[in-house]
Symmetry: C2
Subunit: 412 residues, 2 copies
């Protein structure tokens, strides 16, 4: 069912501010069967908010707004909604009781501002706020539904959770949705490889979302399309082979952790250009200490020699940005942190430091396990931060590939 989102609050239009509520809501609503067809951000201005409500209703059956229902004078969402509906705002006994209860609980004096918070447009229902003072609003009429949630993130998410059964009833049967994740291959190549399978399932909407080094493939089938989606997913998984991280939506970190835990191995990292970003990803999940032994960020040759025991000979003959250095760094990390497997990244993130032989964006990754080394080299595009993030993702993916091979009894 077509749904329009409105985020209300002048602070959301300030330079540097981000409107992330809709980002959060969008996939959750979609999985309930509510397809977002438009998003708006508007400041705390009665007239502008009322017009935003009217505009949203013109294109969607469900309108979901967040923000502007707090106790301050800025907050005008209730008034704007009443104006758009052409109905008066009324005192509402249950709503006022809820706000009074909340004030008592936190020993706050109930004021006129709180009373305003409890007003409800005639015919609308109030929504209990499980995490704050401001009740939400629920309007149902022949044109559809208008739902207003608080702007405070914690309150908004808590209220949405309690609303899920009701939203499901509105939406009817939810769509079927599955996610495949890949790593180490660019979006356009992934697109090209899955195209043949996608064509066999014209009723399924296939979309890809890329971040540096990783691509998510989303499959959306209509209500009752579970079999088709599962079949499409299997077809794509077969084609993707080792480039597939997970056909069940698990992240690269989750898959690497699971592989390490199955072997009871721990990993150590040696980093140059990524400077900690790889270690940070390896430890993003809870319980990381079971699989992560330690990491060293060695920018200088001196540090590479002292901490990782990379030989002066290797650095002189091949340079710090080389396969030989990467191999020695991975070995050194595994040794010094007493880990079964070691991974390293060395490269040139830029903007300076590039040469004809080693241009900016050159990245070497090595993974070592029991003396067997896997090594790859890339030339990555983008600015310093993008090269760093991309390189960390590729290194994590090389760990995954090495672990898969180790499981199959092959060399890393």
């Amino acid at each position: 069912m077509k749904t329009a989102l409105i985020a209300i609050g002048s602070e959301l239009l300030r330079p540097g501010a981000r409107e992330t509520h809709s980002d959060w809501l969008l996939p959750r609503l979609r999985s309930l069967g509510l397809e977002v067809v438009s998003r708006q951000v508007v400041g705390d201005d009665i007239d502008a908010v009322a017009k935003a409500f009217a505009h949203a209703r013109a294109g969607a059956r469900v309108v979901l707004a967040t923000g502007g229902i707090g106790p301050t004078r800025d907050d005008v969402t209730r008034q704007a909604l009443a104006r758009m509906l052409g109905r008066p705002l009324r005192r509402h006994a249950a709503s006022e009781a809820a706000v009074r209860r909340w004030c008592r609980r936190y020993r706050i004096r109930f004021t006129g501002a709180h009373a305003t918070q409890a007003l409800v447009p005639e015919g609308a229902r109030m929504l209990r706020n499980p995490a704050g003072s401001a009740p939400g609003l629920w309007v149902a009429d022949p044109r559809g539904w208008v739902i207003v949630l608080p702007g405070v993130f914690r309150e908004m998410t808590a209220m949405l959770r309690t609303l899920q059964p009701r939203l499901r009833r509105i939406a009817g049967k939810p769509p079927t949705f599955e996610t495949l994740r890949t790593a180490g291959v660019g979006e356009s190549r992934i697109d090209a490889r899955i195209a043949r399978v996608a064509r066999r399932f014209p009723e399924i909407e296939v979309s890809t979302l890329a971040s540096p080094g990783e691509v998510r493939i989303q499959l959306w089938g209509g209500a009752g399309g579970a079999r088709g989606v599962a079949s499409c997913r299997r077809g794509m998984a077969r084609i993707l082979g080792e480039d597939l991280v997970s056909a069940r939506g698990e992240s690269l970190e989750e898959v690497v952790h699971a592989l390490l835990r199955r072997r009871r191995w721990r990993i150590a990292a040696a980093e140059s250009c990524t400077a900690g970003l790889l270690a940070a990803r390896l430890t993003r999940l809870p319980g990381s200490s079971r699989v992560f032994a330690g990491g060293a960020v060695c920018y200088t040759d001196a540090a590479k020699r002292r901490i990782l025991a990379v030989s002066a000979e290797t650095l002189r003959r091949h340079g710090a940005v080389s396969g030989a250095a990467a191999r020695a760094m991975a070995r050194g990390a595994a040794a010094v942190f007493d880990a079964q497997i070691g991974v390293s990244v060395t490269g040139i993130a830029g903007p300076g430091g590039g040469t004809t032989e080693h241009p900016v964006g050159t990245v070497h990754v090595a993974v070592v396990h029991r003396g067997v080394t896997r090594h790859r080299r890339w030339l990555l595009a983008g600015d310093r931060e993008k090269v760093r993030v991309h390189a960390a993702a590729l290194a994590l993916d090389q760990v995954r590939r090495s672990l898969l091979r180790a499981f199959r009894g092959r060399s890393v």
Copy 2:
């Protein structure tokens, strides 16, 4: 001047997608004097886009839209704009010539799709695309201006740059804008401390933007308000004292780098819970190798002992999450990486691992320089990732404070 943004493209409404064009445009337009009062995201649907244009015009003098002007059948922005204006789409000689030139240059056959790209609503002007094939559009009429830019980020930014002089003329005098940055103090405390100064300048709009461990204060004065803004900034800087990172908008990294370079010092980092995030921030800027000696991520007690030479006695008596351990880690990092100054973070990011004495969110930071140590402890709120990011910011800020003290000839 009031400005409305519209981002056009069905891909922007897919779960997981982010609409970042408006995030990028917002501060840039504001500095030109164009104040964004609403944002919309809408899919590639002629009717929906035409309505979005009409709705945007109702609340703003300038409407700036991005996307939907490419050569594919999805792209309907031109048609939608013509429909909203009530004017026909016409062939446009200069526009078609520009597209033909682009096709020749990249040896692409000029097709009907390209001809569509060159259509222009009657009375509108075309905008040359310095980085791609799709020309933009510029409509000026008594109701204001409608500007359409390409959806490809690189083309959009390139076209905006060429438009800046024209946009400045539309907007009249730009506002005065300055940014102060603080670290180590929460947003509500910063708000309270600057409130008295802010009240002395009622004509200046003051807003704060918080990220974990850091707060940006933005001061917006009207056209010609430069003196007032500068005076307000100075007043706030005085009150903020050492909590002020920069009164000129420089980032925490930039300030720490500048302080290290002035002393010709290099820094080493020892991390437990932040696991590389601090090293990654210390190396975010180009030229980091001049100020960063290296980092160690030591999760386990064994690694803390072996790499950082933390004594078994310290770990046994005080535990790994303690001021004593933090101090020893910072000393160890400085020693092993041969750095003049060392910083460490140790803590419990959660969700597991907390105890009554050391609950989840406990973080210790130590900075050591020439045997003198600075140590602080925090209890941070939020999930694992938030605690990690927050702790890394606080550690970086402790480095800044220590360097400031070292400059003043005081102990770190």
